[in-house]
Amino acid sequence: MKSHGERSCAGCRHFNGRPLDIEAAMPGLASLSSAFAAVRSDDGICAEHDRYVSASSVCAAYASPA
């Protein structure tokens, strides 16, 4: 059984925390800020819930990377 750390959004197939993808998905983000900024921490986009979530979050729909 995986621990919470291993099952967090950071390791989930639905989670995308790649900065350039986040900037492409959110028009205007790179105009006055950046997905490389420290304030973003390691947040990313969850394709399952269509939410912008913290990498340490957890949910029942966790899926291991293919």
Partner: protein, 465 residues
């Protein structure tokens, strides 16, 4: 942009704490570059030399022939400066995942355009025709991106925040630590009042209009704390819908750009002293890059527009104290508190956030550390000189060249803002988020004005003397 993204190293950004953070966030690269330049300037100065040969900048010119003569005389220096920026910024962007082969041609074009705008700003008739470099850079960029479109090959070079953060670290070298200690507490008090009131107004208005609390909080921090950075920090902390974050970003960017033009215009018509106008802009603008464009524009009026007192740097100094020290540094606290409230009090979303106090440090805008260190180091170096020697040697040999490098970095950023802002790509925000945010903008601007020009007027006026 997607084409570039495909070349990034991995699809998933796992939480990698510790030392890796020092090379994969632009805040840290801004520190390395900014402090590296400060260290090089000090080393050269200590050995009887100066970085000023490299930190070349245009001088006032009356006729085009004079500008051309300057370029001919200093062509090698401009080429060397390009190399310096290309290597430093290229290293940083490469570490962030942007290919150097794509960054360099884009940056060359940006450097040439920034140089032309820098030159234009030093035409002796520039003020007469309102050709302030930040506004020209922004206007030109907006015109291109929203008409013919920004060429795709230029996109890898348009890193607004990277340039602005590097410039802010360099800005620290021109601000004595004693000044930060003197003005910092007032900036924090003023910014706290405005931030809390603005957030409250936007949040309550949004909830009353029937909007989701996560959207309300994202809009609120976007308007009250640090613009787009605030919106993405809180959006992630509370687990907002992707579209909600996009709505907040669109509203912040549009209003921030409007304010770049409006705030200096209104302050100019009221002949506000540069320090007071800088404090107002720092209180009422939403993003660092947008606010610095407005503050630098207003600083340019000093000595050029009759009735405006204070020196040019006071506007940028007051802005930075208010925005960076007064507002930006608290984003981690906002994120922690709102994340806690979202997890325990708001409707569940299916995603459970694991909030802890470490959030405050993780989201701390680290470039502020570089700004403070640069200020402390230059203050220490200057301490051994009396005022006359400081004016004669330290200022022209050490501080002024670093200020000139700062102006270059800011110009790269101002040009990039316009070139990356494509209004047609913004999401449709809807009437209710627009009303909620706009009410907050109105309160923010009025309250910031009253605090800067009435309550703390004497204090901010003194900053420019």
């Amino acid at each position: 942009m997607a084409e570039i993204a495909e070349q990034s190293p991995s699809r998933i950004s796992a939480r990698r704490s510790g030392w890796g953070e020092l090379f994969r966030k632009e805040d840290w690269w801004a520190i390395w570059i900014g402090l590296g330049l400060v260290a090089a300037a000090i080393a050269l100065f200590a050995n009887g030399s100066s970085i000023k040969w490299l930190a070349v900048a245009p001088q006032k010119w009356p006729h085009l022939a004079d500008a051309a003569a300057q370029l001919r005389a200093h062509g090698t220096q401009y080429a060397a400066l390009f190399l310096l920026w290309a290597v430093a910024l290229g290293l940083g962007t490469a570490a962030l995942g942007i290919k150097l082969s794509r960054f360099l041609p884009a940056f060359l074009a940006l450097y040439v355009a920034a140089g032309a705008i820098y030159f234009l700003g030093l035409w002796d008739q520039a003020a007469h025709y309102n050709l302030e470099p930040p506004l020209v850079a922004l206007g030109l960029g907006l015109l291109i991106s929203n008409t013919v479109g920004t060429p795709r090959w230029l996109e890898p070079g348009l890193r607004v925040e990277f340039y602005i953060k590097t410039g802010i670290v360099l800005l620290g070298a021109g601000l004595p630590l004693t000044l930060i200690a003197w003005a910092g507490p007032v900036a924090i008090v003023q910014a706290a009042i405005v931030s809390l009131v603005t957030f409250g107004v936007i949040y309550v208005a949004a909830v009353r209009l029937g909007l989701d609390r996560r959207l309300a909080a994202t809009l609120g921090t976007g308007g009250a704390v640090c613009g787009v950075s605030g919106a993405i920090a809180i959006g992630g902390a509370v687990g907002a819908k992707k579209e909600q974050v996009s709505v907040a970003i669109s509203l912040v960017v549009v209003w921030a750009i409007v304010m770049i033009f409006v705030l200096p215009l209104v302050a100019r018509s009221l002949h506000l002293p540069t320090g007071v106008a800088g404090a107002w802009i720092g209180t009422s603008e939403f993003a660092d890059a947008a606010g610095l464009a407005a503050a630098q524009t207003y600083g340019g009026y000093a000595g050029n527009v009759p009735g405006i007192t204070g020196n040019a740097d006071a506007a940028v100094s007051a802005f930075t104290l208010m925005k960076v020290i007064g507002r930006d540094v608290w984003i981690g606290v906002w994120a922690f508190v709102l994340s806690l409230i979202a997890t325990t009090r708001w409707e569940r979303t299916g995603v459970h956030s694991k909030t802890d106090a470490g959030e405050i440090w993780r989201r701390f805008p680290k470039f502020v550390l570089g700004f403070l260190i640069a200020s402390a180091v230059i203050t220490l170096v200057s301490k051994g000189y009396d005022y006359a020697t400081y004016k004669k040697e330290v200022l022209p040999g050490l501080v002024a060249p670093l200020q000139s490098l700062r102006t270059w970095a800011f110009t790269f950023a101002f040009l990039s803002i316009g070139l990356t802002t494509k209004f047609r790509e913004f999401v449709s925000v809807g009437a209710r988020p627009f009303y909620a945010f706009t009410i907050g903008v109105a309160v923010n601007v009025l309250l910031g004005f009253v605090l800067s020009t009435q309550v703390f007027n004497e204090f901010w006026s003194r900053l420019g003397q």
